[in-house]
């Protein structure tokens, strides 16, 4: 066993760290306050190659591995979680399904601009009535000659409504086998009549990211827009979500690290009772716990990412990484505010933003509860399956 990163992984991490520190971090507070979508930073991340990072050169990728992608997400999130989720959703949810399931023709049509970060592609699974119960989705696509007609709504969708959003892959019901839904993935280009993008939600955190509700009313797309095999949508999106969990874990590690970074800057400066608060064990123990939890979360993330790189399903390790890392992020944000005292409650320092940005990590791409169900199911197997 070897916990060392390769020379390339280190180079990716160092480059992303430098880029995030120089280009993203100085803009993070403004983006949070203004809720402006970071077009310039998305373009810069595109020039760096971040959107192409974990994909093979044969499909136009940069040829990096999944661990490198996780290192990149950690560093971007360390500077700004909203930029990180924009990148993560574009790569894990927008591009990955196309790389895995799209035909060469579909890839040729959409992928080059997406891999360059010039356009963004969204992924629509969640609906107003189906969140954790993802398979409970109700959006449907009825065949009509060579077209499919989509009706339904999607909720909490990232990257669908920006000026550079090119389209969305939606999970829809395309038929029934008795009482079983046939679910399929369908690509819908922006501007298709009947596809409307709602206003941006006002969110607790991730202010600069683009999150909206989507509506489909008699929205006609050609059959050729099916991504992958008709009727296999469920297993496809479960696969996509499994990889996505690892990416969200990496993002959470970055946010948790940002909390610790800020505390380490603050505690030698802040004086109480005549000494820096770094001298108090009450402070030291909090920092020691944060550092330990962050390292544990990082190693769980790398473990799951290494499985992806080895061509194995990350499965329960993805759930453990996502569960632990997202809870570590909220715990670190909580302690970071506590260490900063009143200053932590004021928006002049970044810890208040970290606190707001952390919570959604326990919700998006599978709640902590869903992760625990998956982990328990792996432990107990058939014993808990309904007869």
């Amino acid at each position: 066993m070897d916990f060392e990163l390769t020379a390339e992984q280190r180079a990716v991490r160092d480059l992303c760290r430098e880029f995030a520190r120089e280009e993203i971090a100085p803009r993070a507070a403004h983006l949070d306050r203004s809720e402006e979508f970071p077009y310039e930073l998305v373009a810069a991340m595109g020039r760096l190659g971040l959107f192409a990072l974990p994909f093979a050169p044969e499909v136009g990728g940069a040829g990096g591995d999944f661990i490198s992608y996780c290192l990149a997400l950690e560093e971007v999130a360390r500077a700004d979680a909203a930029c990180a989720i924009t990148l993560e959703a574009a790569v894990s949810l927008g591009i990955t399904p196309m790389v895995l399931y799209a035909t060469p023709e579909q890839r040729g049509r959409w992928l080059p601009a997406l891999l360059a970060g010039e356009r963004l592609w969204a992924y629509g699974l969640t609906e107003p009535g189906s969140g954790s119960d993802a398979a409970g989705l109700e959006s449907r696509a009825e065949p009509d000659g060579e077209e499919l007609v989509i009706t339904g709504r999607k909720a909490f969708i990232t990257n669908a409504g920006t000026e550079i959003s090119a389209g969305v892959t939606v999970a829809v019901i395309t038929g029934w086998e008795g009482s079983r839904k046939r679910i399929s993935l369908l690509a819908v280009e922006r501007g298709t009549p009947g596809y409307t993008v709602g206003p941006r939600y006002r969110k607790l955190g991730w202010h600069a990211s683009d999150t909206r509700e989507l509506a489909f009313e008699s929205c006609r797309v050609p059959r050729a827009n099916l991504i992958g095999t008709e009727g296999r949508g469920l297993e496809q999106f479960l696969h996509i979500l499994e990889w996505g969990r690892v990416a969200i874990a990496a993002l959470s590690v970055g946010l948790a690290q940002a909390c610790l970074d800020q505390c380490l800057r603050y505690v030698p400066e802040r004086r109480q009772f005549g000494v820096p608060i770094a001298r108090f064990q009450a402070t030291q123990f909090k920092l020691a716990d944060m550092a330990t939890q962050i390292e544990a979360a990082r190693l769980l993330t790398w473990r799951a990412a290494a499985l992806v790189d080895a061509g194995k399903p990350p499965g329960v390790h993805a759930s453990m990484a996502k569960l632990h890392a997202s809870e570590v992020a909220t715990a670190c944000a909580n302690q970071a505010v506590q260490i900063h005292g009143g200053a932590g409650f004021i928006e002049d320092l970044p810890v208040a933003r970290y606190y707001r940005d952390a919570k959604v990590g326990e919700i998006g791409e599978g709640t902590s509860e869903v992760q625990r169900i998956l982990i328990a199911r792996a432990l107990l197997g058939a014993a808990v399956e309904e007869s």
């Binding site: 390339e8 180079a11 050169p57 940069a62 040829g63 490198s68």
Partner: protein
């Protein structure tokens, strides 16, 4: 145009440096090592010239084995190949030895232009570029603030003590560039992956025609730089402006 760019891996300048009290050398163990940020300007200058006028950039470095990481960063930025001279006998090499080694390594390949920074961010001797030029028998154009090339002549605006001067030089020559001569590009992630397959030659002293003679330069003593005096705070009690005028006159700036 074939361009050789000299680069150096140094202890991360963002971490506080420490001198070994007996050798007076910078401690390098246990400190993150990075490509000298000053070298990024030279790499960028080389890449920009090669992109505009054809040719390739080759980076040349002397240092311990782990300096390959600095070379890889240059390769990820777009350099075509790299040379590292690593040899235990070169630990603590002085400026002239460094120049001899770099010049010998440069001479192994074709070159029309050698680009360096004005000095390294750790050692600061600032004499290596000129020494390389002398050893190669070509002119040195130093402290470039801007560089242009018309296909045959380099036009360089140089930083001088009093301002700038513009000089022209034919090739081959050695060009040292100041920080700020350009805005160095980030390496790209594709570049990092591509760096894997670019040629990186590792050489030792045996591969070069360099004889290490007696020590040319020895650091005898190290003293802290004299502390600067703190400034004077002028409290404005109504005569503040007068007092500031007086101080500026004393300083002969007005």
């Amino acid at each position: 145009m074939d361009i050789a760019v000299c680069v150096k891996q140094i202890p991360d300048p963002n971490t506080p440096g420490e001198l070994d009290p007996t050798t007076h050398r910078l401690r390098r163990e246990g400190v993150d090592a990075v490509l000298d940020p000053g070298d990024e300007f030279g790499i960028e200058a080389g890449l920009a010239l090669a992109e505009a006028h054809g040719g390739e950039v080759r980076v040349v470095s002397m240092g311990p084995e782990r300096s390959v990481e600095a070379i890889r960063k240059a390769l990820a930025m777009g350099a075509a190949g790299g040379v590292l001279v690593a040899d235990p006998a070169l630990v603590g090499a002085d400026a002239l030895t460094t120049a001899r080694v770099l010049a010998a390594a440069i001479r192994r390949g074709p070159f029309d232009l050698v680009i360096t920074s004005t000095e390294s961010t750790d050692g600061y001797t600032g004499v290596v570029p000129q020494a390389i030029a002398e050893l190669l028998g070509i002119p040195a154009v130093t402290f470039a603030r801007s560089v242009s090339f018309d296909g045959s002549t380099l036009t360089v605006r140089r930083q001088t003590e009093n301002g700038t001067e513009t000089v022209e030089a034919g090739l081959p020559c050695v060009l040292s560039v100041t920080a700020g001569v350009n805005a160095p590009r980030y390496p790209s992630l594709r570049g990092i992956m591509a760096a894997r397959s670019k040629p990186l030659d590792r050489l030792s002293l045996n591969d070069l025609d360099v004889q290490l003679g007696e020590v040319d330069q020895e650091i005898v003593r190290v003293e802290p730089a004299p502390q600067r005096k703190g400034g004077e705070v002028v409290a404005d009690d109504g005569t503040g402006a007068q007092r500031i005028l007086e101080l500026l006159r004393q300083a002969k700036v007005i």
